[in-house]
């Protein structure tokens, strides 16, 4: 419950959008309309695998007009700890999952005069929702969407159908790249840029924004940070008096939850700060993967974000 209100859902449709992406339509098991949300929001999907519970965040693509279903898009990743593989292999129409209420850590800046939406690959999911909202509000916007090839443009046709010449598509196999040095310099004051995609692409786009003289306040990114796996290590929860193990394919937070401790979380992507936990001691090296703690805080070793960070070593003792 520490991630908020939970909604039991059932998968009502699955679409193989590209060779590596599936889109899932989720409906509330009690048939009630799903909550409204703001563009850029995600839900955390809880999956009950045979031996453990996996929780991954996925951006909401859209909500059907009658509110009966949400759509999420899931890329099958190579270094998956099991979440995306579970969604691709184990989940079928009729499967039951649990989702959290929508949380938005990648919102549109509503004071903006114009919005540039930039997506790479599966990063298109929040961008898709943002474009819908901007179209509804009749605000100026552009969409730039980069994909591996036409077969991997999961959302290209839909985007073009809905947003027409506001969409620019870029295909890696045709050596087409998003030319930030042409797109960004002449944007009017009050423009905001939103980018979601692979880490390298995000860094390139943001660097392009800075090179064009944009202030940081107008540059927004969502990094799809799935909790990376690592070596297993021992975990002791000092207050609860529990000793357990964090498996190689498990996140620290998942291990805490598996031990029966109700720890706080929101994004499960290292961004929001909700799962910040005090480190009592660490026999080994803390591997900080989050975007929340400052470099000084990371270096001090006093805190850890349990959703994406872990230990490389023998034993971690947390103030939980």
């Amino acid at each position: 419950m520490s991630g908020g209100v939970e909604i039991p859902v059932r998968v009502v449709a699955i679409e193989q959008a590209t060779p590596t992406v599936k889109r899932f339509s989720l409906a509330a098991r009690d048939g009630a309309p799903l909550p409204l949300y703001s563009a850029g929001a995600h839900v955390v999907v809880a999956m009950d695998a045979a031996d453990r519970r996996i929780k991954n965040p996925y951006s909401l693509i859209d909500r059907s007009p009658d509110g009966s279903t949400y759509r999420i898009g899931v890329l099958r990743t190579q270094q998956s700890r099991g979440g995306s593989a579970f969604m691709h292999e184990q989940v079928a129409v009729g499967s039951e999952l649990t989702i959290t209420m929508p949380v938005n850590l990648f919102p549109l800046n509503r004071t903006g005069r114009k919005h540039l939406l930039i997506a790479g690959g599966i990063g298109v999911t929040p961008i898709y929702a943002m474009a819908e909202e901007l179209a509804r509000q009749s605000v100026a916007y552009e969409i730039h969407y980069a994909m591996r090839d036409s077969a991997h443009g999961a959302f290209a046709d839909e985007l073009v159908a809905r947003h027409g010449d506001r969409v620019r598509l870029y295909r890696d196999d045709c050596q087409e790249v998003i030319a930030v040095d042409r797109i960004l310099p002449n944007q009017p004051l009050g423009t905001h840029l939103y980018v979601c995609g692979p880490e390298g692409m995000i860094n390139a786009i943001l660097a392009g924004g800075r090179a064009a003289g944009w202030p940081e306040e107008n540059l927004h990114a969502e990094r799809f940070l799935a909790p990376p796996g690592g070596s297993p290590f021992a975990l002791r929860l000092a207050k609860a008096g529990i000793t357990t193990e964090v498996r190689a394919d498990q996140s620290l937070l998942e291990a805490i939850e598996a031990a029966g401790v109700d720890a706080a979380f929101l994004c499960r992507g290292g961004a929001c700060g909700q799962c910040e936990t005090r480190v009592v001691s660490a026999d080994g090296e803390l591997v900080h993967n989050d975007h929340f703690l400052s470099d000084d805080e990371k270096a001090s070793g006093a805190k850890i974000m349990t959703c994406v960070s872990r230990l490389k070593g023998r034993e971690l003792v947390l103030d939980l």
């Binding site: 004071t111 903006g112 005069r113 960004l184 310099p185 002449n186 944007q187 009017p188 004051l189 009050g190 423009t191 800075r210 090179a211 064009a212 003289g213 944009w214 202030p215 940081e216 306040e217 107008n218």
Partner: protein, 200 residues
């Protein structure tokens, strides 16, 4: 520099040139010119991309226009008043691009006006670089009649619009570029505490 523990008062972080900016749009009044000189002197690559709007009058008697002209700015507009400066600023902002960084230097009320103009054109206030120079006098908004009284150096002060004796609260509105003035003797009618010189 203003040092205060007034939580609502903006932090004026100083007029540091943002080297990443493609264009520097600088608004200065009175002694604010000295901040511009300090920031841009000897920075040819910056001055070549700088537009400075300057209103000499303001808080300082001295006219720094000649020194600004010697900087080798791309553009220098010497304006006869703060009001005309803001009018010119709005024209430039209307066609400016995202690579433009806005700067303001001078007295607090002037900085407030420049920031308000920037925000009206979609500039995020956090990206505007500001430096306080010159008089510590406050612009005060009478909370009762909403009238602005300029160059306030004492508290209480008489509202220049409705005549109420105002206590100047340590509460600052960036949107209004002003401190809040509230009746000082509502609970003691007729009694007027002696004015204290506070912000000269």
């Amino acid at each position: 520099m203003l040092v205060s523990n007034i939580k609502s008062r903006p932090v004026y972080g100083g007029l540091k040139v943002d080297d990443a900016a493609r264009r520097h749009l600088v608004a200065a009044e009175g002694e604010g010119a000295l901040a511009v000189l300090a920031a841009f002197a000897g920075r040819a690559e910056a001055t070549a991309r700088a537009t400075v709007l300057y209103a000499p009058g303001g808080s300082a008697g001295e006219d720094h226009a000649a020194k600004l002209a010697a900087l080798g700015l791309d553009d220098l507009f010497v304006m006869p008043s703060q009001a005309t400066l803001i009018t010119r600023l709005n024209v430039i902002l209307a066609t400016a691009t995202m690579g433009t960084r806005l700067y303001a230097a001078g007295v607090e009320g002037f900085i407030g006006s420049v920031v308000a103009a920037g925000m009206a054109h979609g500039v995020d206030q956090a990206s505007i670089r500001t430096e306080h120079r010159g008089s510590l006098a406050r612009r005060v908004q009478c909370v009762h009649c909403k009238g602005m009284t300029e160059n306030v150096t004492v508290s209480p002060v008489v509202c220049s619009h409705c005549g109420i004796q105002l206590l100047v609260r340590d509460h600052f509105s960036r949107r209004l570029g002003a401190f809040q003035g509230v009746s000082v003797n509502a609970e003691t009618p007729g009694e007027i505490p002696p004015a204290e010189e506070l912000y000269a």
